[in-house]
């Protein structure tokens, strides 16, 4: 039986790229791929986050679990995460998750000795691995921000201490994925929208007066249309601002001009927005996502090819079955 190839060759066009922000177009593929990418970026690209906290001294106002939880949510630079092992299947340390292949150790020692409240922040966490450190949110490119002012550049606040209070702990960061706990999710937001195709029925539009046109344009909460000052024609200024809220269509119907506008979502064209927590660069996040998706697909393919269907389900198999 000759198989028909459904293979497509998606294209990507990057529109904007910053360390923690990425906007790109994904074309010639369908919603399943787009959504799979979104889901993988949110929940399955691994990062490193503090997972185990050993508290030696805690005389702060927050209780141990609270501090441990806060520590866990601090984003750590996780470029290494793809190469690291999950501590559960690390064979170097018999799964106790404390070896260099699967974990990074942090120390925190803070004590307030002055009358001024001491802010304990992510900057106070000392890492055993210089590649895995709390994300620095200061923006060196921003000229408004006084980069040398340490008071404003103290990182994520963990707890505030008053005189005499102390916090001393050891923390172990491990590799993990967002599916297990949101702290491992590298993505703050990943979203895509269908690219809209907007067709204005020019003939019908011409039957409108200028006021009607303006009020019609106004009916959209986002600025999709505008009026050309010269020709007084309605033009589409920003199709992507359209949120599929159908406001303009309803307005046209209310004006008795059914069919004034035709808006359709292109089935094969998506505009992605990726915002990273800083753990992984947004571009890297996307690449990692593709990598993970490939691994998952490999697992599926292998399962078709191999006759023995037992040992094929490695770690990815678990994910495939929805583990």
């Amino acid at each position: 039986m000759e198989s028909v190839s459904y293979q497509r060759f998606p294209k990507i066009k990057i529109r904007e790229m910053k360390d923690d922000y990425l906007k790109f177009e994904l074309r010639e593929t369908d919603a399943s791929v787009a959504n799979a990418l979104r889901r993988v970026m949110i929940a399955e690209v691994p990062t490193i986050a503090i997972d185990l906290v050993e508290i030696e001294v805690n005389s702060s106002v927050l209780n141990d679990e609270f501090i441990a939880h806060r520590l866990g949510l601090i984003p750590l630079t996780s470029e290494r995460a793809m190469e690291m092992r999950f501590s559960r299947d690390c064979d170097a340390c018999d799964g106790d998750g404390q070896c260099e292949y699967c974990s990074v150790e942090f120390h925190l020692r803070a004590k307030c000795v002055t009358d001024q409240t001491l802010d304990v922040t992510s900057k106070d966490l000392y890492s055993s691995d210089h590649a895995v450190i709390p994300v620095d949110f200061s923006d060196p490119s921003d000229p408004n921000e006084p980069s040398d002012n340490t008071e404003t550049q103290r990182g994520v606040i963990i707890v505030k201490l008053r005189r005499g209070q102390e916090l001393r702990l050891r923390a172990i960061a491990r590799k993990g994925i967002g599916k297990d706990h949101a702290k491992w999710s590298p993505a703050a937001t990943v979203t895509f929208m269908y690219e809209p195709e907007i067709h204005i029925n020019e003939d019908l539009m011409e039957t409108l007066t200028l006021e009607e046109k303006l009020s019609w344009i106004e009916s959209s909460p986002t600025r999709v249309f505008d009026i050309d000052k010269v020709t007084q024609q309605v033009v589409v200024v920003d199709p992507e601002a359209y949120t599929y809220d159908d406001e303009v269509i309803k307005k046209a119907e209310a004006m008795g001009k059914r069919g004034l506008i035709d808006i359709r979502a292109k089935e094969d064209s998506f505009i992605f927005t990726v915002e990273s927590t800083g753990a992984v660069k947004a571009s890297q996040l996307f690449l990692n996502a593709i990598e993970i998706l490939k691994q998952k697909l490999d697992a599926v393919r292998l399962s078709d090819d191999t006759v023995e269907a037992d040992d094929q389900f490695g770690e990815l198999g678990v994910h495939m079955r929805g583990g």
Binding site: A31, S32, A34, N35, A36, R38, R39, I42, A43, I55, N58, V61, N63, D64, E65, F66, H69, L73, G178, K179, H181, A182, K183, S185, T189, V190, T191, F192, M193, Y194, P221, T222, R223, A241, T243, Y244, D245, D246, E247, A265, T273, E275
Partner: protein, 1119 residues
């Protein structure tokens, strides 16, 4: 007794050297009472010899927090924090054994106001009585500003023959006197004077005129009353006093050997109209009451409703404590007196003048018990009294002030209970919401269910009058009354003088000041007088107090009995309204009004239009703001005017069971249980009350992004889906703190108390990882169920006993507090455990609109629907079916407003009735203002969102657009304290009852849930016989009994111990000996059969046998 004083609380009364202050937080932690030493001088006098003064310690008297003697009294927030209290500590409660107890205010009948009543029980008093009476609850006069505030109720019953009886209670018995005798006994008077006084209200001219209260029957009745006295051959005042005196001599025991004249005098003084010291005043009041009674009987005036707030006052803690203390002191003195008298009679050597001797006798009568009695009253809320103190209930005067959250705590101080006696009653009329309570009691804030309508809460503007004026100085009631009297006489009041006969309504109206008939005013002048009084009330310069109540009851046809009732006494409800009838330049225009006068006033409310008022009666007053009619908690519901009213009631309930940021001084507390929300937020959509009452100090919830859609089916029937990632990030995280107090001096026998201390065992090293060398746990240690957490060592037996954690979940040791009071070694320890309570399936949440729901799933973030534009996923999904029938429009508005507010970065004001207030302020011209929805929609639209608050969402699973636009936005959600972890109950096998061998009940003990009769019925209906058998038999008390088929008994069979004859066969396990069961009665094992039966059956047989009933079973094979 003189010179009483209470000292401020000090530590450890035994050691006199170090007198340290005892602070409230120490009491809470050490589980002791916050009390001060109560001392007084007792004066002894015997046979007119000189007075001996002797100081007595009357025990430790409970001290209210923030009262004059409390150390927190003058502390500012910063000092409060340094005293380890909340910065916003309000006080007003007591600490008894470490527990905070607050007085539950009670509704009482209005004091010193004669009320016409109908009660079926009046008819049963005696033959000839009707069900009609006029009742007055007299409260002792406050001539000196500090009096005991005790009350005596006097009833004036109407008899079928037209006469009346005065009834009052002495020593738990009601005494009934003919009214004529009392009238004559009170004042030296003549029959003619009484006759004239009684008939003056009837005038043929005014018959059938509006406001006439007298009828021609008055003369007849007066005659009957006087005839009664004459028939008893009592003619003069002395005759009457003699009669009364003889009657009461055996009743009042202190007066046993006094003359009847003195007895009668004392009775009239102490039991009849106790609020009036003057007998002439008593006489005039009795005449007034008779007139009211007759008019009530003739139906020229209407019945007073005792359930209406118009005729009600409030019972305050200070008043109850005073009268209770008074009674206890009197009891003590009486006992002391009799002890000394006994001693004098018995012992000849007893020298009364020798202090030591007296002291010895007095020591038999413990003086400390007085304060103990007060303390135990506050601790248990129960009055231990013989007389009843003229109160309707004995118990329930105090409740524990739970600090579950700030709103709950606050509500304890605003709650007013109708009285426990009504709680059990079948009548529902007391629970009814009456219009008279408008502005004083919140119509929204009452629990649903059993105490509905009985437990009310004061509105946010409602206050209660006290002995203190607005400046905090003690009021001088004598001066106040004098100035009121002066003002009234200058305005044309004819003062009431003895034997002066006044004309009655409608010509003139009686004026009563705090239950004293002070005169009468011509009805033509009265309106002006009332207006003038109100003006004086408002003006700051006059001597008329601003909280005086001018209860003007106008003339009407068959309405309330007319008159001018002026009240100045404490414990009345008052609330501020704006007086718009007086010119505003007089400075203030805020008048304090009471529930009695409110009924007859014209107050307009912005939300009520003109309220159906005609032009003839223009509004004289105006509500300050419509939200003044609801309580503080109800004021926190945003836009509650857009909700269906029961939803607001539910919210008031749920706000009080919210797990919130309960305390800022959490680390100094040792409460039994504290619920604490880890990550609270302040609501984006907030009412004015949030700022006014600084609710942000104790926030109660989180702004969650709520999507309203039917998704996955897990949001059916008020279930809700939480986003797992949101929960991971800390949404609604919380913990329960639970304190165990271990007091070595409390437990165990007395003998080994001193030998016990905290120490861990040296021999048993297994617990060393959990318990430190001091016998207490490590702070931060996780303790699993059934692990020890502290160890007590006994010096004598040389053994140590550990305490084990109960329950089924691990706990973390949060802190350990030790009592350093005793010098040698620790006696008392507080160990606080922390239970993490992060949201799981089954936990309860609610919005602020009575929309509660249970978390049904923690749904993965990636499977949640997302917005294509912003990429947002909801924190929480609720089902749209939650809205149509419940009509909580405000929740939808809140979602819209919060969305707009968060986009613009500001809070949104959601004070209810804001639009009507605005419309009223803007005037009629500009009344066509926009609707709220449009306003909010505009805000959204300007930020590029749909103005209805809906958004296009994409399925998180498929990435395709959802067919509908979804309503999504932030809503403030509360986490309720009902959590599965505290409630789940499951068992497969477990402990059974000893007697019946059936599973025991109770979650704590690992019992099962009852499979009851109705469950059984449903099983039968389904024909599920096998399942039924399994549940009720196999899984319950399945038992195989040996029964003797010969005699049919199951009790006589027993095992016969058998000698083993079986030889051991090498290597094989010994063969089980054949069971041999023998029947005792038949002496044989022939007929023994085994039958499966419930074990209780055997128990039944045994019980019956104990009653000499033999049960015989007939066995057959059942074919």
């Amino acid at each position: 007794m003189s010179n009483p004083r209470i000292n401020a609380p000090i530590k450890d009364i035994r050691s006199r050297t170090n007198r340290k202050r005892l602070l409230p937080f120490e009491c809470r932690q050490a589980k002791v009472s916050y009390t001060g030493k109560f001392e007084a001088d007792v004066c002894f006098q015997y046979d007119g010899r000189p007075v001996i003064r002797e100081k007595y310690n009357l025990g430790q008297f409970p001290i209210m927090l923030k009262s004059k003697l409390c150390y927190l009294r003058s502390a500012d927030p910063q000092q409060l924090v340094s005293l380890k209290e909340e910065a916003s500590e309000v006080g007003g409660y007591f600490i008894l054994n470490g527990i905070e107890r607050v007085f539950r205010c009670l509704i009482m009948p209005k004091q010193n106001y004669p009320m016409s009543m109908t009660r079926g029980s009046y008819r049963e008093r005696r033959e000839g009585y009707t069900d009609k009476a006029v009742v007055i609850r007299c409260v002792r006069e406050y001539q000196s500003s500090l009096t005991d505030h005790s009350s005596v109720t006097v009833r004036l019953y109407y008899l079928r023959n037209g006469s009346a009886r005065v009834g009052f209670w002495v020593r738990g018995r009601e005494y009934l006197l003919p009214v004529g005798i009392v009238l004559k006994a009170l004042v030296e008077t003549t029959d003619r004077e009484i006759y004239e006084n009684l008939t003056c209200y009837y005038d043929e001219k005014y018959e059938k005129v509006k406001g006439a209260v007298g009828s021609q029957l008055l003369g007849e009745r007066a005659k009957i009353i006087l005839d009664e006295v004459r028939d008893a051959s009592l003619f003069t005042q002395d005759d009457c006093l003699q009669h009364i005196g003889e009657h009461f001599q055996p009743v009042v025991d202190e007066l046993e050997n006094k003359t009847p004249y003195t007895v009668a005098h004392a009775v009239l003084k102490d039991y009849v109209f106790v609020h009036l010291p003057n007998f002439h005043d008593k006489f005039s009041l009795l005449i007034f009451m008779l007139q009211k009674l007759f008019s009530f009987v003739d139906q020229t005036s209407a019945l007073d409703n005792p359930d209406s707030l118009q005729n009600q006052d409030i019972l305050l803690p200070g008043h109850l404590i005073t009268i209770y203390l008074k009674e206890k002191l009197e009891e003590w003195l009486r006992k002391a007196k009799s002890l000394i008298q006994d001693e004098l009679a018995k012992n000849n050597t007893f020298n009364f003048l020798a202090v030591g001797d007296v002291r010895k006798v007095m020591d038999k009568n413990s003086s400390v018990s007085i304060s103990t009695a007060v303390e135990s009253m506050l601790r248990s809320g129960r009055l231990a009294t013989q007389t009843g103190l003229d109160l309707q209930q004995r118990a329930g005067y105090t409740v524990q002030a739970e600090r579950l959250n700030y709103l709950r705590f606050l509500s304890f101080f605003r709650a007013v209970h109708r009285g426990a006696s009504f709680a059990g009653g079948r009548t529902t009329s007391v629970r009814k919401l009456l219009p008279e309570s408008w502005g004083f009691l919140c119509p929204v804030h009452t629990p649903d269910g059993e105490p509905c309508g009985l437990l009310n809460h004061m509105t946010c503007s409602c206050r209660v009058t006290s002995y203190f004026d607005s400046q905090g100085a003690v009021k001088d009631f004598f001066d106040i009354r004098k100035s009121i009297l002066g003002v009234l006489t200058s305005l044309g009041m004819i003062a009431s003088l003895p034997k002066l006969v006044h004309a009655g309504p409608p010509k003139s109206l009686s004026v009563l000041l705090d239950g004293r008939v002070i005169g009468s005013l011509p009805s033509s002048k009265i309106e002006k007088v009332v207006a003038h009084l109100r003006r004086l009330k408002v003006s700051a310069t006059s001597a008329i107090p601003d909280d005086m109540e001018v209860g003007y009851v106008p003339l009407s046809i068959g309405g309330a009995y007319p008159g001018l009732y002026i009240s100045t006494y404490p414990s009345r409800f008052i609330r501020p309204v704006r007086n718009i009838s007086i010119p505003c330049e007089e400075g203030q225009d805020i008048e304090l009004i009471g529930p009695f006068e409110q009924v007859f006033m014209e107050i307009k409310c912005p939300d009520g239009g003109n309220g159906g008022r005609s032009d003839a009666f223009p509004a004289t007053h105006e509500e300050i703001h419509p939200t003044n009619m609801i309580s503080v908690v109800a004021n926190l519901t945003p836009w509650s005017d857009h909700n269906q009213s029961p939803r607001n009631m539910y919210q008031c309930q749920m706000a009080k069971q919210t797990m919130a940021f309960s305390l800022q001084s959490l680390c100094f507390r040792a409460d039994q249980k504290i619920y604490h929300l880890q990550t609270p937020q302040t609501p984006i959509v907030r009412t004015g009350a949030y700022t006014k009452y600084s609710i942000d100090e104790h926030p109660t919830g989180t702004n969650a992004i709520v999507a309203v859609l039917a998704y996955t089916g897990y949001d059916m029937e008020d279930a809700m889906i939480l986003n797992k990632s949101s929960v991971d990030r800390g949404m609604f995280h919380g913990q329960i703190y639970q304190t165990e107090t271990i007091d070595l001096s409390d437990e165990g026998s007395k003998s080994d108390r001193s030998h016990r201390r905290f120490r861990r065992s040296n021999t048993d090293r297994s617990s060393h990882s959990l318990i430190d060398s001091d016998g207490l746990p490590y702070v931060g240690q996780i303790i699993q169920p059934n692990e020890p957490y502290c160890s007590i060592y006994n010096d004598i037996t040389n053994s140590s006993k550990a305490k084990y954690r109960k329950g089924s979940e691990p706990a973390i040791v949060d802190y350990v507090a030790v009592d350093t009071k005793s010098k040698n070694h620790l006696q008392k320890v507080n160990i606080r455990f922390r239970h993490p309570r992060n949201p799981i399936i089954g936990d309860k949440f609610s919005s602020r609109h009575g929309q509660k729901g249970v978390c049904s799933q923690l749904w993965p973030d990636i499977d949640m629907p997302f917005s294509g534009v912003t990429g947002m996923r909801p924190d929480l999904i609720i089902n749209p079916h939650a809205f149509p029938s419940r009509m909580t429009i405000a929740m939808l508005l809140e979602s819209l407003a919060a969305k707009g507010g968060s986009l613009n970065g500001n809070f949104v004001d959601a004070t209810p009735f804001a639009s009507t207030v605005r419309a009223a302020n803007a005037g009629e011209a500009n009344s066509e203002s926009e609707s709220l929805v449009d306003e909010l929609g505009k805000m959204l639209k300007s930020n590029g969102f749909n103005h209805h608050g809906v958004e296009v969402l994409y399925s998180g699973v498929y990435g395709t657009e959802l067919t509908c636009e979804i309503f999504i936005g932030p809503v403030y959600y509360q986490r309720l304290r009902h959590m599965v972890s505290d409630k789940f109950q499951v068992r497969s096998t477990g402990p059974v009852d000893q007697i019946t061998r059936q599973p025991i009940k109770g979650r704590k003990r690992g019992g099962g849930i009852r499979f009851g009769e109705m469950e059984r019925d449903s099983m039968l209906a389904h024909g599920a016989a096998y399942l039924l058998h399994d549940r009720l038999h196999t899984c319950s008390d399945y038992h195989i009994a040996d029964i003797c088929s010969i005699c049919g008994s199951i009790l006589t069979t027993h095992f016969q111990p058998q000698r083993r004859i079986v030889r051991d066969i090498g290597g094989l396990p010994p063969v089980k000996a054949p069971k041999k069961v023998v029947c005792h009665a038949c002496q044989t094992s022939k007929g023994i059969e085994t039958v499966a039966m419930p074990y209780v059956f055997r128990y039944l047989a045994a019980e019956l046998a104990a009653m000499n009933i033999k049960m015989t079973l007939h066995l057959n094979d059942g074919a």
